[in-house]
Symmetry: C2
Subunit: 97 residues, 2 copies
DNA sequence: TTGGGATATCGGGATTTTCCGATATAACTT
DNA sequence: AAGTTATATCGGAAAATCCCGATATCCCAA
């Protein structure tokens, strides 16, 4: 758990927005663009207004920080939050840092 | 409470180190370089190995993010943690973000 | 097996961050 | 008033980040 990498991942308005959307996918994405594995890249990209390459990169940054998880199914990659990571981070800030 | 500003402030190894030192000043600084208002800039600078200007800037960044507080006394500025801010951030990550 | 759709990676210009040395300011001392 | 000490601010080189367009890869369908 690289603290600096996590905080860097969180140091961007667009990435915080993505994490917020993924907290309640059913609220932010239509049913056909999500499943139990998460939401696909294209839906996130479309909603964000940023380019596909940027969103793909941002999702990779969040994934490398451990904040989200990816599941590839056919040509789609579904991303969802790793809630354990957020719980651990919350605890860390509340006690260690 | 600007989330991005807070996470940017935390996105640096040296600044995280400073916050860690300030968590238990009595463990990391000699008694004559601290008081109830915190630890003075020079002591932090000396311990860090970075230059005076860099440490002064880093403390300003942490202060602007609300993570630490400054008290000027004569020619010294004492810095200490703002624990409420850390508690609030922990709560935020555990529920909002 | 070829074409198309979804995602990842590459290369890069613009901006920001990192950390420095030099200089300014502010307060104390004599 | 002049010198000293503590801190803040300025200007800048190097590195990192932001976000893009172009291209590559991967998978499915016809």
């Amino acid at each position: 758990m690289d603290q600096v990498e996590i905080f860097k991942a969180l140091s961007n308005k667009s990435r915080l927005e993505i994490l917020n959307w993924l907290k309640n996918p059913e609220l932010h994405f239509s049913a056909e663009h999500q499943n139990c594995a998460g939401v696909c890249v294209g839906s996130i990209q479309e909603k964000s207004g940023l380019t596909q390459s940027t969103i793909s990169e941002y999702l990779t940054i969040l994934k490398r920080a451990g904040l989200i998880e990816a599941t590839r199914t056919g040509q789609w990659t579904y991303y969802k939050r790793n809630e354990e990571a957020f719980a651990a981070l919350s605890k860390l800030i509340g006690s260690e840092i």
